[in-house]
Symmetry: C2
Subunit: 190 residues, 2 copies
């Protein structure tokens, strides 16, 4: 998505060789007109897949996922990050390790909002090592629903997230794929 790549080049802040901060338009301040275009792009890509629900993880994925769900005319489901294990019959959890923050959290969902016949599109702001997406897949699998596709705003293609997801048979669609960050410059795949 050319406008997104241009915005990343113009406004992204490079930290070292692996981190790019997009606080000015995606993660903290949010360019909602760009989010709308991102939502249209994901919706067009997955429109013929009979998606019944968009899922994301709080909180940076919510804005692009809201727009995607709006353009697909399906509900959005926001998975929660809990710091502790919740023991009740209504909740499903799976442990996820965040490599960025080097912490574990329990990815959490109320059972009733994933149904066995759901066809789910997972949307997130970043794909790095794939831990968040794989955690979401585990929750979806617990309810025997189907994860139809994964829509990523920014993929760090120099990490192994895409490979892990594709090895699991998943369809990954990323709007911007960063192949490397070198000499203070962001390089995209393709």
């Amino acid at each position: 998505m050319e406008e997104l790549k241009r915005t990343i080049k113009e406004k992204g802040k490079i930290v070292g060789t692996e981190i790019i901060k997009v606080d000015s338009f995606l993660n903290h301040q949010v360019d909602v007109e760009l989010m709308d275009k991102i939502g249209i792009e994901f919706a067009n890509k997955f429109r013929d897949k009979n998606i019944t629900k968009v899922i994301t993880i709080e909180s940076s994925g919510i804005a692009p996922a809201t727009m995607t769900a709006f353009h697909l005319k399906v509900p959005l489901l926001i998975l929660k990050k809990s710091t502790s294990r919740i023991l009740n019959d209504n909740t499903l959890q799976t442990k996820v390790h965040s490599f960025t923050k080097n912490i574990d959290y329990e990815l959490t969902v109320s059972k009733e909002y994933i149904k066995e016949d759901d066809r789910i599109l997972f949307i997130d702001d970043f794909l790095a090592n794939g831990a968040a997406a794989l955690g979401a897949k585990q929750l979806i699998d617990m309810k025997k629903a189907e994860l139809i596709g994964i829509g990523i705003v920014i993929e760090k293609s120099f990490q192994d997230g895409r490979k892990k997801l594709e090895d699991g048979g998943l369809d990954v669609y990323s709007l911007a794929r960063i192949s490397k960050i070198e000499n203070g410059e962001i390089c995209f795949k393709d």
Copy 2:
């Protein structure tokens, strides 16, 4: 907003006399078409106020705030909840006490995303005792920007949040005002 009140009556789950769970359309699963209508309603209410930025707090306010910012054609700024004090020159913080969860958190923003000439609309899913909105106002005040209005999806009018905000001279616009929860029924003001 009649459609919202109807949805709260139909889908809200009452817990005791003070808590209403709206997990099925606002806080966990999100009805994005309703969020769009909510965004239009807030945008229409504040359209002539020259709003330059919509602010919300992660994570339940993000979906309605995204739609509000979209319809006002201004950026969205998402305030973060940190568990600890961050010591650096780029960040502003203020302590907020969450009565719902009985915890303190540091409401956090990067200095650069609030400007002195910003005219800000604060959007949140719930208003109870007003602690979150007052915390946001403190951050806005630190940068000498102006908090023009507060848009709330669901107001618990039996708590004192509105009074505190109005005593501070703030313009509060709530789409559904719950006056009481009695005998398992939700009553609205007006």
